[in-house]
């Protein structure tokens, strides 16, 4: 099992003849992703890489190939239009890689999708999603991943690769890794991914990577506290970022005190998440956590996870969990 994508996902590439689109379409094909079609207006009827048909419109591509996921590499000025084209053609999963889409374009896209609950948008400005060994729809380097049981959700692209590599180097594979993107207005959020990982039988533990700004991590913490029983290891980027030049009064007014690294870290810790101090410690922290879990199982604790969640475990177990969490947090692996 996995979330969002697997070996049966039929992928369409929008902007397949552009420089980023063609390079990554090749990479996805090489990874084994079922790339069934491409779209570049005006290039319909041609072929990409010997056997991928290119169409003028998404509707044509869907009708001819049954594509059920689309990845958008279209330049920022036209990317929102491409996302809407995919949505109007009924593609249920749209992954927007494009960086630099005007915010007001995305405000309209988000509003359009609110009326279409069957369509999921991932991104924009994201690395995409990968279920190792089965399907890669994105720009992440495939070779650093391996199949396994850790679910990853992240707002950052390259920081996700960093975490994946640490996990893989320690022998910990991934169920699915999702990059939700760093733009202020985007589709799939932390909570969407956490809820899917929680119910995915293959996923044993979760890595959550956030950064300063917005309040997605605070929402994630609230959700984890109530609904997630699997252990979560986190990292929040931007602790060293100075408050610096402000981005204007009003933005800060809307987000209130949320948005700082300190607030996000403490909110996540209160929800039982083990938050690493160092981005280099994500793998080790997860490794230690799973190791303790196995040790407990061997000692006859029935194989259940160290419960760090309130309201579900007894006070003693909770205290032990917090001690374990503190111990992890006190030792950044430098």
């Amino acid at each position: 099992m996995s979330i969002f994508v697997d070996r049966n996902t039929r992928v369409l590439v929008q902007g397949i003849t552009g420089s980023a689109g063609s390079f990554h379409a090749e990479q996805m094909l090489a990874y084994g992703t079922r790339v069934v079609a491409g779209v570049t207006p005006g290039r319909g009827g041609t072929r990409f890489s010997t056997d991928v048909p290119v169409f003028d419109t998404v509707a044509d591509a869907v009708r001819e190939t049954g594509a059920n996921a689309s990845i958008v590499f279209v330049p920022p000025a036209h990317a929102a239009d491409s996302i809407l084209e995919a949505a109007m053609a009924g593609i249920p999963f749209i992954i927007a890689i494009t960086e630099g889409i005007p915010v007001l374009d995305m405000v309209k896209v988000k509003r359009f999708l609110e009326d279409r609950p069957g369509i999921r948008l991932l991104g924009p400005n994201c690395p995409g999603v990968i279920t190792p060994g089965q399907c890669k729809i994105g720009i992440m380097p495939g070779h650093i991943h391996r199949p396994g049981s850790i679910g990853i959700v992240s707002r950052s692209g390259t920081l996700t690769y960093e975490a994946v590599k640490q996990l893989t180097d320690l022998g910990l594979g991934q169920s699915t890794a999702v990059g939700i993107g760093g733009d202020p207005v985007n589709g799939t959020d932390f909570v969407d991914c956490l809820s899917r990982f929680e119910t995915d039988p293959q996923t044993e533990a979760i890595v959550l990577i956030g950064e300063i700004g917005g309040s997605g991590e605070e929402w994630a913490a609230r959700y984890i506290r109530k609904n997630v029983t699997k252990p979560v290891v986190g990292f929040i980027a931007g602790r060293s970022a100075p408050p610096g030049r402000r981005m204007g009064h009003a933005g800060a007014v809307i987000s209130g005190s949320s948005g700082t690294a300190g607030t996000k870290i403490s909110t996540l810790r209160d929800a039982g998440v083990i938050v690493c101090e160092s981005p280099a410690a994500i793998g080790q922290t997860m490794h230690g956590l799973l190791h303790r879990k196995k040790a407990r199982a061997a000692r006859g604790h029935g194989g259940s996870l160290p419960r760090l969640k309130r309201g579900r475990a007894s006070p003693t177990v909770r205290a032990a969990g917090r001690r374990a969490a503190r111990a992890d947090q006190g030792t950044p692996e430098m």
Binding site: A20, Q27, A77, E99, G100, I101, P102, V103, L104, D105, V107, R111, P127, G138, I139, M140, P141, I144, S154, R155, S156, G157, T158, L159, T160, Y161, E162, K165, Q166, G182, V185, E211, I212, G214, S215, A237, G238, R239, S240, A241, P242, G244, R245, R246, M247, G248, H249, A250, G251, A252, V253, I254, S255, E277, S278, P279, A280, P332, E333, M334
Partner: protein, 394 residues
């Protein structure tokens, strides 16, 4: 992108926001002429810098005669104005806006920006105008009224009316407020703004509403479709290195440490700053070369990093996804040939085309300290910075 108050007022006036008459002045003589031309018994001489908090810091002075306006201009022009938002160095005043006075009965706040949680433009209004809205939000958040705008319908008159009544406006003032809020919303959408703020909106003793101050910021990603807005940029208000970074589409923020870093991806760039700090060093900047970093872009980034005299060591941390490590490596080599690298250089490459990238670096004559992973890179660059003497500043 930010613009000056006088520019914001010109833009907003074009959309029907009522503003006071005023003139730009860059010399004391011009300020005197402007005050005389306005012909009002009182006028305001306002420093034009890209930072708020001017009123409390002596950046806005009232003049009762053209001569007094000239005296204020002489005192302000060319001096650095320090406000709560400029940082300790302040911002040099190069332009003044001389504006007619008005008789104030009430001061209100009206602003709009994106609410990230709902993904909608949200209006904020408050009876507490003319003071720092952040302070209002902290102390009396209930005094900030909000209305979220559905992008399908745009701002509706009933929403603006609701705010107007809640602000205690009555009669024709309600109508004026609806007109002002609607004009501000139209300006926001038409220019792809990121923030539009009128603080204060003044209710005059004659019952008219007017924008006494105005602030507009724009979405950098949308400037390509608003050349008339892009032309309002004032290079004097930007750090030279930051302006150069923007030209090369690099995201660069100067900080006060001594370890320069060049990273791809904002999250990893922040994570790299974090780990430098954890290892006992201080980052000199945030620099995200972005996705698909080309050779030329990397070379430009290097020049910008090295232009900071405080830098004692450089850390390049690239985890290739869209970016290909070999292109990044070529950029490093090209930059080294063009500008010369006089400080230790720690390079960590990983991801797409990593082997090709390492080959390019190995084949060059560059003295590079390679790093295996993020923690190793942080340790090495902090150690290297400690061993390097501070560079002589020209």
């Amino acid at each position: 992108m930010r613009i000056h108050e006088y520019q914001a007022k010109e833009v907003l006036h074009g959309f029907g926001v009522p503003v006071l008459r005023g003139q730009l002045a860059t010399t004391p003589a011009q300020a005197e002429e402007a005050a005389a031309a306005l012909g009002t018994s009182i006028c305001a001489v306002k420093a034009q810098i890209h930072a708020g908090g001017r009123g409390k810091s002596g950046g806005i002075k009232l003049a009762r005669s053209p001569e007094e306006a000239r005296d204020h201009a002489e005192a302000m022009l060319g001096t650095a104005l320090r406000t709560a938002q400029t940082g300790p160095a302040g911002q040099v005043v190069r332009k003044l806006y001389v504006e007619e006075g008005c008789r104030i009965e009430r001061e209100l706040y009206l602003g709009m920006t994106l609410d990230r949680d709902s993904g909608r433009i949200t209006l904020m209004a408050s009876t507490e105008g003319g003071v720092e809205i952040e302070e209002v939000a902290r102390v009396t958040p209930e005094k900030i009224l909000r209305a979220a705008v559905d992008p399908l319908t745009g701002l509706q008159a009933n929403q603006a009316r609701g705010l107007a009544f809640a602000l205690g406006l009555r009669g024709v003032q309600v109508q004026r407020f609806v007109q002002l809020a609607t004009a501000l919303y139209h300006a926001y959408v038409a220019t792809d703004a990121a923030l539009a703020e009128v603080n204060p909106v003044v209710v005059t003793v004659d019952g008219e509403l007017v924008a006494l101050d105005a602030k507009l910021e724009f979405d950098d990603n949308a400037l390509h479709r608003h050349p008339e807005i892009a032309a309002l940029r004032d290079p004097d208000e930007e750090l030279e290195r930051e302006a150069e970074a923007r030209e090369h589409e690099l995201s660069y923020v100067a900080l006060d440490g001594d370890i320069a870093c060049m990273v791809n991806g904002a999250g990893l760039a922040m994570g790299t700053m974090d780990i430098i700090q954890l290892a006992g060093g201080r980052p000199a900047n945030f620099l995200d070369v972005g996705g698909g970093a080309s050779e030329a872009k990397v070379a430009a980034a290097f020049k910008i990093l090295l232009a900071d005299p405080a830098v004692r060591a450089v850390l390049v941390n690239i985890f290739g996804g869209i970016s290909k490590c070999d292109l990044v490596a070529k950029g490093i080599v090209a930059a080294a040939q063009q500008v010369g690298i006089s400080v230790p250089l720690v390079v960590r490459l990983e991801g797409t085309n990593v082997e090709l990238g390492k080959q390019v670096l190995a084949a060059s004559e560059l003295d590079i300290i390679p790093a295996d992973d993020l923690a190793d890179a942080a340790r090495k660059v902090v150690a290297a910075a400690r061993e390097t003497a501070p560079r002589a500043t020209a």
